[in-house]
């Protein structure tokens, strides 16, 4: 019999007493359903020898999630909180293993919605082959947070011989992306409902560890790889160019962008290359393996729309050049601040 269904979160749920215990038991322990969490110790414990069989280095990362609205077409804050951290591990070549989950909940938040978020985290974690093994809950006064903030940290294991870093792009290398860009950013703008558009754009939010495992099998020597989240594709390309001291030349017309996303960008004066993604990676790979890798990516569900979008050149160092497809080129720079809609 549920004590909490239909209720709202109060400060008591974060106070350390019985109410908090009920919340942890009913929502988190049963929702996340992992052996480590069920022990209710202050920390999760792992067998080192077992981890060592998968690689020779640990990878660790953390990220916080504060998206508004919490639920949007194709995803929600829970799916995002697992996917984002899993992907941050995976693009370094690591196999994601364990996640922590810290939640900051605004007083008055609905328990049912919290359960939906937890169920979504669990489903996403299962799909990504990771377990949520430790957690924390804080409840803050109304107005001190916006409904729900989630932090997840993750641990993964990097296989021997895998060396993916932003500074390894070399002239001649090929740049590949795993699908359409800008879906997540456009979906969030759309879901806020301020524009009253007739279309519905779904987020691209998806864990990438499966795709990356397949990629590494075909091409263990991927030079650089990052997921293009905040700041979009343009930002990641700039990071590679400046860390490696090379130029990256990309063809605008080769970069896959959905019609609906282009439409929203045309209306608002935004650039899809700066919009956030939550399931897109950019890889810089040796040219002789590019075609084989592309075929493997396109055969994977998380990489159906994969495309080669450009190549690495020696100069101008640290610059990303966009071939507009219209006849001219332009420099594709990092954004200064937030991308703001243009007036006219």
């Amino acid at each position: 019999m549920s004590k909490l269904k239909g209720k709202t979160i109060t400060l008591a749920h974060g106070a350390g007493g019985k109410a908090m215990r009920d919340l942890i038991d009913e929502v988190f322990v049963s929702g996340f359903d992992s052996p480590e969490l069920s022990l209710l110790e202050d920390q999760a414990r792992f067998d080192l020898a077992a981890l060592c069989r998968h690689g020779d280095r640990l990878a660790m990362t953390t990220d916080s999630y504060v998206v508004d609205p919490l639920f949007f077409p194709g995803g929600d804050i829970g799916k995002l909180a697992v996917t984002g951290t899993v992907n941050d591990l995976a693009v370094g070549g690591a196999t994601p293993r364990y996640l922590s989950c810290g939640m900051i909940i605004e007083e008055g938040f609905s328990v049912d919605e919290l359960m939906r978020v937890v169920a979504s985290m669990k489903a996403t974690a299962d799909a990504a082959g990771v377990r949520i093994v430790t957690g924390d809950t804080k409840v803050v006064h109304k107005g001190a947070a916006d409904k729900l903030f989630i932090n997840t940290a993750g641990i993964g294991v990097i296989p021997e011989g895998c060396h993916i870093v932003a500074s390894r792009a070399e002239p001649g290398d090929v740049v590949i992306i795993n699908g359409h860009v800008g879906d997540h950013g456009a979906a969030i703008v759309d879901a806020r409902g301020e524009l009253a558009l007739e279309t519905t754009i779904e987020t691209d939010c998806q864990p990438l560890q499966g795709l990356i495992a397949a990629m590494l099998e075909t091409c263990p020597d991927i030079h650089c790889m990052r997921d293009a989240t905040r700041g979009g594709v343009a930002t990641v390309l700039n990071e590679f160019a400046s860390s490696s001291g090379v130029a990256i030349r990309v063809e605008y017309q080769a970069i896959p962008v959905r019609e609906e996303v282009r439409g929203i960008c045309e209306i608002l004066g935004l650039d899809p290359l700066y919009l956030a993604n939550e399931g897109k990676l950019i890889a810089v790979v040796p040219p002789e393996q590019a075609e084989a890798l592309l075929a493997v990516m396109q055969a994977h569900p998380a990489g159906r729309g994969s495309a080669i979008i450009g190549s690495v050149e020696a100069a101008p160092q640290g610059r990303v050049i966009l071939v507009t497809g219209f006849g001219g080129d332009r420099i594709l720079d990092m954004l200064v601040g937030e991308q703001l809609p243009r007036i006219c």
């Binding site: 610059r319 507009t324 219209f326 332009r330 703001l340 243009r342």
Partner: protein, 373 residues
Amino acid sequence: MKFVDEFRDTEKAQSLQREIHAIATRLERNQTRPLQLMEFCGGHTHTIFRYGIEQMLPDSIEMVHGPGCPVCVLPMGRVDDCVALAERPEVIFTTFGDAMRVPGSRKSLLQAKADGADVRMTYSPMDALNLARQHPDREVIFFGLGFETTMPSTALTVLQARREGISNFSLFCNHITTVPTIKAVLDSPDMMIDGFLGPGHVAMVIGERPFQFIALDYHKPLVITGFEPLDILQSLWMLLKQFDEGRCEVENQYRRIVPAEGNTAALGAIGEVFEVREFFEWRGLGSIDHSGVKMKDAFADFDAEKKFPVENLKIADPKSCQCGEVVKGVIKPWDCKIFGTVCNPENPMGALMVSSEGACAAYYNNGYEKKRA
């Protein structure tokens, strides 16, 4: 995408490019300096940089990026007035997105928001009116700015507010007018511009006639131009043909949107709500007679300048700024003493570095900072 991709066709672009080069080569024989062609409008500047159009042109043609970016030319004093209004506790201050970053003498609206002011980004003045309906206990102010392009929608919003008797909505009017501004550029003694790409969206409202004086009195050709890259190339080709054939006229490349007489309903709404100001202060250009509008007395209840104390602060542009010379085409952005050093997009000193449509920001973002050396 329909009605968009047709105007970005690569083959058509290349054939226009060939024609432009052919005419430019003929014209070069009688030229002692490059032809200076000004796109007045910030929207055109944006397209020119986005598609790398300058690189497609011969060296004998130089684009001058004009003052038609309403965000760029907003003077610091007006931004300070905005911040003061936004900081009033009863006020929800609404604005178009890219005006949020324009620096005032104390802070930008973005900083004011961070400091606790209720500043909200809206996509249309009607969204602001909606906020006023939803928050009857607050005062919603809409920051109206832009040329004749955005004037009709603010005018219609004010008329709607009056019709519904929404008393907690007002407009902080900073709309500016095109013709006096082009005239100010043409009248400046160091001006060397040979022809203009006319602002298509402004013309959609005011029509072709208000531009005729440029050809008749100043003997400069003007082509009213659309905003897709092929529009720009075709208009440049039309301008060059005028030079080649010894004509000097106002032509309309953007006929699919711009009727010769403009939009009479929009002009009606503008005329009902607004009247010309004696002068308006511009960042980079100084004070220009009749270059702005204010709300008529009949709309005093909806005029933020009358409803709230507005100081009308006058703050001089930084002395080192050479924005005025850049918009007149006298110097290129990289010739300015502080371009890319003291003045950059993270810390804009001058108007033209503020918005992505400003010439200096566009040059900087496109990696032109090195050309100076």
